[in-house]
Symmetry: C2
């Protein structure tokens, strides 16, 4: 598996970075086979991955080409966060996002909500309903502190797809990935400690650091390959960093998949400096390529990686079922889990275990991956059409969120206030930075099937951005 995935990653990155331009012919199968010392069929497999990902198209008898239709916005610039640990701010903006009640008259493009309306969800809803009707009422008891055993067995099986060989007893079920991250941070760090994070980074994890009195060291992150290993190494040399917290597969908000080689190198760095890695894999199963990317955890040999995930993005967030594979920190994570919420609600656990056991999860994932990949292209197209020229956008390789960068100095907080009266909201970029960077960026959700209403909402965002930019120019600012 690793060989062709590696090759696909390498070629994909070169295409994304512009070494091959739209319309260019890509190297022949034979040439690549010779260059990389791999079999012809390995190269063919790699090209199939690139095809699935919209990065290569075959022409009969001529080989593979970069699709000409790809006139994509430029990639976002690599961020330049503060080169020192900082206290985390931005709680007010996060609160604005999470206190919002879903309203029918507002198109909420800001939240990390998956599409829950797929017919492949039906067996899960059926299970949920049935459990409440069972005579023995298994949904009402205190569960074992580790979580439902049948579910943990299913999760262990699922983890094989990401290269992890774990047993049910290596796992603790949590109240969503949020709790998994929170207990992992508390199990590895203490107040005052410094945690290195990718940048931009998930606000939930950063606000946890804030709440626990820790500091964040934001590491510059490439929109295609993820956290900069050079910058991380420098930071590890300079500061007494205790843990690295990041989302390497289908990153939130940038959508990249960190190459396997980088994942291994990151682990080596963590070993050298003896720090823990808190790996958020909540979007990993939604990679557009198959098989899904390996986790850093899958390379872990000394139990220093705490793998955190949930069914919030693959099934539904309202279930509040996540898990953590805490490696050597198991005992401490167990204590932190107990003092956080006691045990996890059993009803959704039982329902999800049945859903997985009866083979409903794989077809569901396949369907959602295809839908999200298709929606991504539509969303990027809308941004190209409706946003100010010069707007940059990410190239998500999984999940359902697009990161959009407007010209420097643009204020998305102001944009969101304007949009509020027009019935649209986006996630402002500043919440993805510990120190309020990325104020000119925003994140939009493309999970739901594209409709005229959503297109209109995106058009409104673009039009409001253009108006704000003109206003600024008019002011001579």
């Amino acid at each position: 598996m690793t060989l062709y995935v590696n090759l696909a990653e390498l070629l994909g990155t070169r295409i994304e970075q512009g070494f091959y331009r739209p319309g260019d012919r890509l190297p022949s199968v034979r040439a690549l086979s010779t260059e990389h010392g791999v079999s012809l069929s390995t190269v063919q497999q790699a090209y199939r991955v690139l095809e699935d990902n919209g990065l290569a198209m075959p022409k009969p008898k001529s080989g593979y080409f970069v699709p000409v239709s790809r006139e994509l916005p430029d990639l976002p610039a690599i961020g330049r966060p503060a080169q020192r640990p900082v206290d985390i701010s931005q709680w007010d903006q996060v609160l604005e996002l999470i206190r919002a009640v879903p309203r029918k008259d507002v198109v909420q493009l800001g939240r990390g909500m998956p599409d829950i309306h797929s017919p492949t969800m039906k067996p899960l809803l059926r299970s949920l309903a049935q459990i409440s009707r069972r005579q023995d009422m298994p949904g009402l008891y205190y569960d074992n502190i580790y979580g439902n055993l049948a579910l943990r067995e299913q999760i262990a099986r699922l983890l094989l797809d990401s290269g992890c060989q774990l047993g049910a007893n290596d796992l603790i079920v949590t109240t969503g990935c949020h709790e998994a991250l929170s207990v992992s941070i508390r199990a590895t760090c203490e107040p005052g400690d410094i945690v290195a994070v990718d940048s931009p980074s998930f606000h939930g994890a950063m606000q946890t650091l804030k709440g626990l009195g820790m500091k964040a060291m934001e590491i510059p992150t490439d929109p295609l390959t993820g956290i900069s290993l050079d910058a991380l190494e420098l930071a590890l040399e300079q500061w007494p960093i205790k843990a690295i917290q990041l989302t390497p597969s289908c990153n939130n908000p940038l959508g990249y998949i960190m190459p396997e080689a980088n994942k291994r190198a990151l682990l080596t760095l963590a070993q050298r400096f003896d720090v823990a890695i808190i790996e958020d894999d909540v979007y990993g199963d939604l990679a557009y390529t198959y098989p899904r990317p390996r986790t850093i955890k899958s390379f872990d040999e000394d139990g220093r990686v705490l793998l955190c995930s949930s069914f919030s993005k693959t099934l539904a967030p309202g279930l509040r079922v996540g898990w953590v594979a805490p490696g050597r920190y198991l005992e401490r994570v167990l204590h932190m889990k107990y003092i956080s919420t006691g045990s996890t609600a059993p009803q959704p656990q039982i329902a999800i275990a049945e859903f997985l056991k009866n083979g409903h999860f794989e077809p569901h994932l396949r369907r959602m991956r295809t839908q999200y990949q298709r929606n991504r292209d539509v969303m990027i197209d809308w941004v190209s059409r409706y946003f100010p020229s010069g707007t940059r956008a990410s190239r998500p390789r999984g999940s359902f969120m697009l990161w959009v960068e407007l010209p420097e100095g643009f204020d998305t907080l102001k944009l969101n206030r304007v949009l509020h009266d027009r019935g649209v909201q986006v996630a402002v970029g500043s919440i993805f930075s510990a120190s309020g960077k990325y104020r000119n960026c925003l994140r939009m959700n493309y999970a739901a099937k594209p409709t005229a209403q959503i297109e209109e909402a995106v058009r409104k965002v673009g039009a409001a951005a253009i108006a704000l930019l003109n206003e600024t120019h008019g002011d001579g600012v």
Copy 2:
């Protein structure tokens, strides 16, 4: 309301403490009316409360008497915890209790599980099932960070019964009372801080202090009137205590209801020393007397009381729905809630809101209160019959748990190991102390309707205790 409740408390305490013995005639209605300067009907109301509570019985034309049949075990002694703040131990014993998976062949008398098999639960189960079948799938979304509004409105209405005048926006829904306590502690204290607790005290709250690097100052606690105010005052004078955490109504594990006057005095103490009060009211609605006791929160004027509760004991723990009324700490509790689990699962919230709105909760509570009170008398009777002579026991005035004290030097950890092979488990007393006191005590659950199987289990506990005591005497220890 306050007058007759106060009077009933006063008389009840005198009876429990033995000022009036079984068979004694109690003061006449007229005499009490004169003595306390209250109306005759107030005294009559007070006697009705005592009657409900099994402490007084009327004889036609002769007045009220202490029931002769009451040959109760002596009350447990007041604990003598360390007179200084301590680091919390006992995690291993707690873990043993909470990692246990419910098994049909083990009678688990140790856990805080209510009886969930009452027919009055049916409307709730129906709602839970129906929500999963609704077209708009409200159970699958992220909820507002505060929790479901309809539920918060119902909780605010419910809180009126305990004398609290709060609005929906004063409340935050949590993942069980466990999370409510955890976020309250984190919102008011920092690592290294000292928290005063009643003793014996709920292990979950103490383990939270441990997990957060705080120390517990155990305050001697009377088995009838609760935490000693004199000892608390002394501790507040001696140590830089940041918060007081206690369960004043239907205490776990002792079952007492702290008199209203003591609750007020505690609040005055907290004001004088400017400390927060974290009030666990999770059993308060299960008081055997009606109206239910007032909370300390109901007297709170400057927002220093954080009231924590849940539906885990009144409905079912598997629902994982609790709440906190954090007073002046609301903003900080909100942040702690967000970083702990994000939002709370909406499905059980919606179901409980419907259950309350449709008037199903009051009849359910009435039924459970009556059942638990009846079961208490049965359980005390079993302990009198099957346990070693000299065994002491609490007089729970609410909830469904009995605290049993065996002779000093007795080891309930050893007892539980013996019982394990006989298919019975109890909660060992040492987990209710920060420093492993109460090793000669245990807690037993009497929620379920008494059956021959449960009686047999209690008989086994008693027999094993007698055998262990004889063994010790045989050793000459």
